[in-house]
Structure formats: structure tokens, C-alpha cells
Symmetry: C2
Subunit: 247 residues, 2 copies
């Protein structure tokens, strides 16, 4: 029997790993790490840094090549589904080569596997495996902690959404606070009204950047800051929270 | 200068503490723990269990009496604000008595201080303190991990809300998934339609209870299970996720 543990590792800061996650990494027979090419080498390195800190005598650690998503030729959801099939196949091959059909495989998942991540859906495509999910710190938590703010207004609802959904549907009605993830297009530009933004990039890391204020006043500054940081590091992961202002 | 660290500790399982949180507890000069009376002694004990596991040589650990919220005489928000004032005053007294005006105080916050928790708002009432927030595992993450499910549908938004808000406003429009916290009144009973529920109590603990299925079929069973568990333990903390079913 094969067991797969999908282990949330937070956003790169080894201090945000849980004891449970550390133990699971230590006890795994095989750890597989996606190789997304030279451009995202930083991200693979950050996984290895976490292992160096917490599991210096790690078991077998193996890279697997991450297939590219075909974003052009198909409807969005079909393209994603094909892509997940392709990743599941590569996982199977990598596991068969390096472990066989018995033992425990660990995958280090950025943030938490439950939040805008596909590892659960990909793992469910494999036959004869037992899946276990271990939570990890999300960018939402690190954003709020870094700014020292609550996620929700007192007793109020919060909507978590993506840049794509925000651009398509606008501000969700009856919501006072939104958090936007996966937004490569700084979609806060599409919003109007009396809104405050709390933005953060590289959260929890030494190069963390935080900005906050009146959205209408600092939106352009965030766009510029984001572009410059992305240029400097070759990649960026950022998140933001926007709240309606009390008037 | 006084520093206050608001440290998320998860839902009681010592394995869900982060290394950062452990270090902060270890380095604090004073740890203050709310005493909510005999009925909730379990919760205070769980905090002490986490200290026993991770910080066996803890610095000074002191209980403070938690004032009761006056739920009768005022508008909801006014009552909450007065209550927060009262708690802030007790924190000040407890810190002055046991530490003075210099050093680091740690508060162990259930879950994550950002999520439906008031410690950030209370801490902001204190004068001359530097506040630092450390994230902890939320019940939402533990619920999804225990059931092995993603929080969001592929690319879709999620609304996090309370039982009170759900009862007042109903299902948030244009949302496919909701997570409900702080719901002592099993408000899922007010929902209709093709919905699936994933429910959990005492998440991450040995007495964890999980139920899932068609909401219309298992709602009553969850209500009964919840009531029996609450009777047995004297308290309950539960959370649930509801998703519109694909038809």
C-alpha cells in the first residue's frame, strides 16, 4: 500500500512549519519536489532550505519535472483537468521509479493544500493510494499577522477570491472584506469606492514587502512596487486584503 | 517598553504548533492564560498541555479571570466593545502585577488571532505596547485536512461567515462554498437546496468527530451528534463547510 502525505509548508519561512509537518517529512520514505525550471529555481530551493533546517537527514528527495499547462487551446477548466492528469502521471512514474508500490511519499505543498492548490485533486487521480493532508500556513494568515490586523470585521463575513473571479464578478455583494489570491494582474485596479488595502509580498521571508492605505491613493504605487520586486527576484507571490472603510 | 505577542496555537493539538510559536513562548517573560471558569477548564488545560509538551521550562505562567460579556442590556456591538475594554483592563493589571512595564508577554490564542478572535482588538486598547501577531492553525484548515478536501472549488470564491450572519442574510450570492464558524445554533438548518456538508468537532484532537454528506439527509444527525458530544465533554468547538452540489 502506498501512502501520500500532502504537507503544507507555509510560504517559505522554516519557522512557519508545524511540528506535525516536520515529523511527517522526517518519517517519509520519499519526498518529491516539483522542478519548474530555472526561472522558479528559488521556489525549489526554498523547499530544500526548509528540509535543511528541519530534516537534515532527509530520506530520499527527488525532483520531478513539472509539465506546463496548455493555456491556449482549450476552455480553462478542460485545460486544467488535462494538466492535472499529466502531473498525476508524472507523480506515478517518479514514485514507481524511486520507491515502488509500498511506503510513504511526502509532497511539500506551498501554503496549505486546501487553499487554491491542486495537489489534493491530483492525488485523487492516483490508484491504490491513501491520501493524508497536513495543513500549513497560508499567505492569508501571514498577511494578517504581518500587518497585525484581523481578517474579519467584528462578526462579519469575509470572501476569499481570485484575481480572475474579482475581475469577472466585481465586489461580492454583502461582503465587507475580501482577500484576493492568485492575482498576477493587480485586479484591485478594477475596484472603486472608499476602500482600504493591506498588501504583502514574499510574506514571512526576509525580503517581505508590506504596503497599506487608501486603495485609491496607493494602488499605482503597489503596481510599481510589485513590478520592480518581480523584476528583481524573477518571481513574486503576493496577496492582499481589501476592506470597505467605515465612514 | 512592553511587547505583547499574540500567538496562534491551533485547536489544541500540540503537533499543530509552529516552530516560530514555540520559540516565542519559550522566550516570553510572562505567559497569561484566560480562566473562563470550571465549565471551560478543559480549554485552559489544553493550553497548559501545549506548554508541557513544547515549553516544559516555561517562564512565569499566570491565569487571569475572564470577565463575562453582558449579553442582555445593550446592542450587540456596544456590549462587545465594553467587554473588550474590561478584558484590556484585566490584562493591564495582570501584566503590571507579574511583570511590570518592561519585557515580553505572550498570549496563547486559540486558532489564529486573525480569525473571529478579539485579541488583536483588545491588545490595541493598551497603551505603550508593541503588538506582534504570530499565526496559528485555524479550524478551517483542520476541517479541510481531516476530510481531505480543498476549501475552494477550482478557481472559485469562498465565503467565511458566522452562524449569526448566515441566519440573518442567508446564502451569500455568487458563492459556491461557505465555511461557518461560531455557530452554536446549527444554522445550516436554515439552508435549502442541493448542498453537501463537511462537519467536524474537536478538530485535530483524539476525540475528533467528522461527518459529511447530503445536508438535507444528515442535518438532523449532525444536530444530535453535536448535542450528545457537548453533553459528554461540557463544551464543543465545531466548524463546517457547505458546498453547492454539481448537478
Amino acid at each position: 500500500m502506498l501512502r501520500i502525505k500532502l504537507i503544507g509548508i507555509g510560504m517559505g519561512n522554516p519557522g512557519h512549519l508545524t511540528f506535525e509537518a516536520r515529523d511527517a517529512l522526517q518519517e517519509a520514505d520519499l519526498i518529491i519536489i516539483p522542478d519548474k525550471g530555472a526561472q522558479k529555481q528559488d521556489l525549489a530551493d526554498m523547499r530544500r532550505d526548509i528540509l535543511d533546517v528541519h530534516v537534515p537527514h532527509a530520506p530520499k528527495v527527488v525532483d520531478f519535472p513539472m509539465p506546463k499547462r496548455d493555456a491556449k487551446t482549450k476552455a480553462y477548466l478542460d485545460g486544467v483537468s488535462d494538466w492535472h492528469d499529466a502531473i498525476a502521471q508524472i507523480w506515478s512514474q517518479t514514485i514507481a521509479t524511486h520507491l515502488g508500490d509500498h511506503g510513504t511519499v511526502a509532497l511539500m505543498v506551498w501554503g496549505d493544500p486546501m487553499l487554491y492548490d491542486s495537489t489534493i485533486r491530483i492525488a485523487e487521480r492516483l490508484d491504490n493510494v491513501r491520501i493524508e493532508v497536513l495543513p500549513g500556513m497560508t499567505s492569508i494568515q501571514l498577511l494578517c499577522a504581518a500587518h497585525g490586523i484581523p481578517l474579519n470585521g467584528l462578526g462579519n463575513a469575509v470572501t476569499i477570491t481570485t484575481g480572475r473571479t474579482l475581475r469577472t464578478y466585481g465586489w461580492p455583494p454583502e461582503t465587507e472584506t475580501i482577500v484576493v489570491l492568485l492575482d498576477g494582474e493587480t485586479s484591485f485596479h478594477t475596484l472603486e469606492g472608499a476602500l482600504d488595502i493591506w498588501w504583502g509580498a514574499y510574506l514571512g521571508m526576509p525580503n517581505q514587502i508590506l504596503m497599506q492605505g487608501d486603495l485609491s491613493k496607493i494602488a499605482d504605487r503597489i503596481v510599481d512596487t510589485r513590478a520592480a520586486a518581480r523584476e528583481e527576484h524573477g518571481w513574486i507571490m503576493d496577496t492582499y486584503l481589501i476592506r470597505k472603510r467605515d465612514i
